[in-house]
Structures are given as structure tokens and as C-alpha cells.
């Protein structure tokens, strides 16, 4: 009977939760997020030390604009596709920050099992609810360019709220164990 259980365990470990990254991705994620978040703050926070053109290269640009097509005598508006040189420093920072947070959020815990997965789901559902409330408030009260900044941070805040809630749940779980038995 015991041999049977051991074989089953080995099989289930192989098949287990392939949506999670290995444990080390937690540290890879933080080491991507923290430096790029600091650089982003230096560029766009109070100091403006770094200019967006600090890194620039040719890229595909998709924008809204006046199209040179006439529909019944009216000029149409639509998507413009252009290739041109752009300052890409903020784009690089934001991509690195979001990839970093994704790695941290979905990095396996050392003691990952179905209960931890249950806590993940619970925390994720909670974070989506809180972030939706933030979205409603932000959409209602922020206007103009500030709204663009809000949407940008709103996306990142989903990960941050999830991580805060998940770590709190893990802490409570581990603390609870020490009190028992």
C-alpha cells in the first residue's frame, strides 16, 4: 500500500501546477522589478534625472490619427501604423516591471501544495475585487493625462495587492502552525 502511495506521489509531483514558475523566479522577479521601478521613478518622479530618449530605437508605433482616406467627403480617424525612432526608456522600464511582478506573483513557494494553491486563489480573487474598486474610483475622479498614469499603475497594483494579501495569508498560516501541536 505504501509503495503505491509513493508511486502516486512521484507521478503527481511531475504533473503538478505547471502554471507556476520555479521558486528562484521570486528573486529574479524582485531583481527585475526593484531596479527598474527605481529608474522609472528617477525618470518620471520628482527628479527627472533620466530622459526618455536616453534609450531610443526604431520601432513599430500604433497610434490614433487622421487617416488620408475619404469616406463620402469626410476625413476618417483610425489607427496609424508607422515605423520610427522613439524614446523607449519608459517602455523598457514598464515591461521589466510587469515581467518582474509576474515572476514574483507566480513563483512557486518552497512548501507549495494544494492548501497554498487555495490561498493563492483566495488572494487573487480578493486582489481583483480591490483593484476593481480602485479602477472605479480612478475612472470616476482622474481626468486628462493623470488618467493614463492611473491606468498604468492600476495594472501593476493588481500584482502588488495580490502579493501583499498572499504573503499575509502565508504568514498567518505559518504562524498558526507554530501555535499548535
Amino acid at each position: 500500500m505504501l509503495t503505491k502511495i509513493v508511486i502516486t506521489l512521484k507521478k503527481s509531483k511531475k504533473m503538478k501546477k505547471d502554471y507556476l514558475f520555479p521558486y528562484q523566479f521570486k528573486w529574479i522577479g524582485w531583481s527585475l522589478f526593484i531596479p527598474f521601478a527605481l529608474l522609472f521613478f528617477l525618470a518620471y518622479g520628482c527628479f527627472h534625472v533620466i530622459d526618455d530618449d536616453f534609450i531610443s530605437f526604431k520601432t513599430l508605433m500604433i497610434m490614433m490619427g487622421e487617416l488620408n482616406i475619404f469616406h463620402g467627403g469626410h476625413e476618417a480617424k483610425g489607427f496609424l501604423f508607422e515605423v520610427g525612432r522613439q524614446g523607449m526608456f519608459d517602455e523598457i522600464c514598464l515591461v521589466a516591471m510587469s515581467v518582474g511582478l509576474l515572476f514574483v506573483a507566480f513563483a512557486r513557494e518552497r512548501d507549495e501544495d494544494e492548501y497554498v494553491e487555495h490561498l493563492r486563489l483566495h488572494s487573487f480573487a480578493w486582489a481583483i475585487k480591490v483593484n476593481t474598486v480602485l479602477f472605479i474610483l480612478g475612472t470616476w475622479f482622474f481626468f486628462g493625462g493623470l488618467y493614463l498614469w492611473f491606468v498604468l499603475f492600476w495594472f501593476l497594483s493588481l500584482f502588488l495587492i495580490y502579493l501583499a494579501k498572499f504573503q499575509l495569508e502565508l504568514h498567518k498560516m505559518r504562524k498558526g502552525v507554530n501555535d499548535e501541536e
Partner: protein, 66 residues
């Protein structure tokens, strides 16, 4: 859902850690199940039943609220 895992462990003189290792979960998971904070998956319930050499029904029982 109620369970008598604590009793079954006591019968076998098994700690939470030992049971956790046998079925491949963390000790805190056993703790949460015993405390009624977490209802395990069917797979885990069957593994526990195998360790205690009992049927799942003998370990887990439904309550009126379930």
C-alpha cells in the same frame, strides 16, 4: 465538513509532520485540515484514508450546513 484526522493520527502515534511527509504536503496543510479551515481535495482525502487504512467516509463526515 468534520474530520477525525487528529484521532486517527493519535491511534497511529503519528505527528502532523509525519503525516504530511507521507502524503506529500506541508505540515501547515494538515494543521488547516484538522482545524476545519481547509477541505482537502479528493486526491488528498484518499491518500489520508490509505495511510490510516480506512475509507474516506470513516475520516470525513458531512455536516448539516454542507
Amino acid at each position: 465538513m468534520k474530520n477525525n484526522i487528529r484521532v486517527e493520527r493519535a491511534v497511529l502515534r503519528m505527528t502532523q509532520q509525519q503525516l504530511a511527509e507521507r502524503i506529500g504536503v506541508a505540515r501547515q496543510t494538515i494543521n488547516a485540515i484538522e482545524a476545519g479551515k481547509y477541505v482537502p481535495s479528493t486526491v488528498l482525502a484518499l491518500k489520508m484514508a490509505a495511510v490510516f487504512d480506512k475509507s474516506v467516509n470513516e475520516i470525513f463526515t458531512l455536516e448539516e450546513t454542507d
